[in-house]
Structures are given as structure tokens and as C-alpha cells.
Amino acid sequence: MSDSGPHITLYRLQACPFCERVVRVLDELDLPYHSRFVEPMHADRNVVKRVSGKRSVPAIVDENTGVKMSESANIVEYLTKTYGEGGVA
């Protein structure tokens, strides 16, 4: 839609605890992000597969680094390493 604004996009499912875990870390790190909500039905999540290779959520796309990933533990580790204290970005 617009080129300005957050460079991180989070694909999430309403009430998904793994997604909320990622949201908590994004908030702790003070990182703005776009929230894109997808369907509970796995089969209807082609957009997530297109961006991350899998239909699972959460998934993030970071335009800053070109990183696209799923699995909340991996995402939390990536965000902390990249944007946390002593992070590389």
C-alpha cells in the first residue's frame, strides 16, 4: 500500500499464542510492524506460504534485512539478535 511505515510485517492468526509471543517481543524491542491477519484454515493461507515457504503462523518479513521466516522461537531469536541490545541492526 505505502512504502513508508514499518518495515516488518507479521502474518498472524487471531488468538494464536505463538503469534502473541512474537508480538510481545516486537513491543519489547519497540519495533513497529504491520499486522496481517490470516484464516484459521491452513489451506487458505497461500499468502503466508508465498512469503515464508510454509503455511504456518507466525511468520515475519523484514524488508530491512530481507529476512523471511516462520516458527516463533526462530523469530524471537532473530529479532533479539538483530534488534536487541548489542544487536547488529
Binding site: 500500500m1 505505502s2 504491520h34 499486522s35 496481517r36 491477519f37 490470516v38 484464516e39 497461500n46 499468502v47
Partner: protein
């Protein structure tokens, strides 16, 4: 059409041609996901037909989208709907019709209030939705055509909309 008086809706003080359409931000639903979006950011991408309609599933909603689809307005303008229905209901609507349109979800009908197109539904306590209304907007959100239902039900003047798109887009 019918030999009795159709229900009249109260007069609307809606924004009119030449005025700037009120901006708002709501979840915007496409066929794949939904995301908060502002009308202003969307309109910046091109001329936009903003269509307020009753809740998804009501027959006027079905008729309105059927006609918009058949007329192919989406080939010339961005077509964007607004109703009180949730993103989940909008997804279902998009599977059936409203091809290549996007739908704002406005459950509290505050956007309806901003445009003065609220409709308090008789017999559905606590439910206020959007009366049928259509606005053609340019990239600055300036209104180039406006139509708001005065009766319940009343359907958009599709020929007028087509003419307005021809004139302005």
C-alpha cells in the same frame, strides 16, 4: 413498483461533491488477509469507488455486489466496500463475489456516523449499520459523485455511477 409506501430514511447530512471524504482507519480485508489501512493511503493509489452497504448476508448486500461485479467497475477504479461485518464474514463474501474488491470492517459503525449514513435497524436491538451509499473519490479524497439511499431498501443508481466513472476517471 409496490403499491404501498416504502420506509423513508431520515435526511442525511452526508459529504457531497467537491468536499473531502472523511478519512478513517479500519481493518481492510482482501482475499488473503486483513490489515489496518487508512482510506487516505488506499485512495492515494488511484480513483476509488467507496461503497457502504448493509451487513454481509443481507440480500441488498448480495444484490449490490452482484451488480457491481457484472458492471465491471473494478476495471476502471479501485472498488472498496464498508460494512459492520467482521473480517471473517468479509472473507466469505469475497469468496462468492466482489471480485478484486476490498472490504473495510467497521463493526461499531463509527465510519457510518462520520459520513452520516447510519441506519439503526428496527427489530435488531443495538445494531446500527451502514445505509447503502456510494462515493467516487479522486486521489485526494475529493468526492466526485455521491449517492446515499433515502429509502429502505434502495439500491445505488448504477447507471449514474458508470457515467461518473466515465466522466472523471
Amino acid at each position: 413498483m409496490v403499491d404501498f409506501e416504502v420506509v423513508s430514511l431520515p435526511a442525511s447530512d452526508h459529504p457531497t461533491v467537491g468536499e473531502t471524504a472523511p478519512d478513517f482507519t479500519r481493518p481492510l480485508v482482501n482475499e488473503e488477509y486483513w490489515e489496518d489501512a487508512s482510506l487516505s493511503s488506499l485512495v492515494a493509489d488511484g480513483p476509488t469507488l467507496l461503497v457502504f452497504h448493509p451487513m454481509d448476508g443481507a440480500f441488498p448486500t448480495t444484490y449490490i455486489w452482484k451488480e457491481i461485479d457484472e458492471r465491471g467497475f473494478v476495471a476502471d477504479v479501485q472498488v472498496v466496500g464498508v460494512s459492520i461485518s467482521s473480517p471473517y464474514e468479509h472473507k466469505d463474501l469475497l469468496k462468492e463475489r466482489a471480485a478484486d474488491a476490498r472490504l473495510f470492517s467497521d463493526p461499531t459503525a463509527e465510519v457510518a456516523a462520520a459520513y452520516d449514513v447510519e441506519h439503526d435497524l428496527d427489530g435488531m436491538a443495538g445494531v446500527t449499520e451502514h445505509r447503502p451509499a456510494v462515493f467516487l473519490l479522486d486521489e485526494e479524497r475529493t468526492i466526485q459523485y455521491a449517492w446515499v439511499a433515502e429509502e429502505w431498501p434502495e439500491f445505488p443508481a448504477y447507471d449514474e455511477i458508470a457515467a461518473a466513472i466515465d466522466d472523471h476517471v
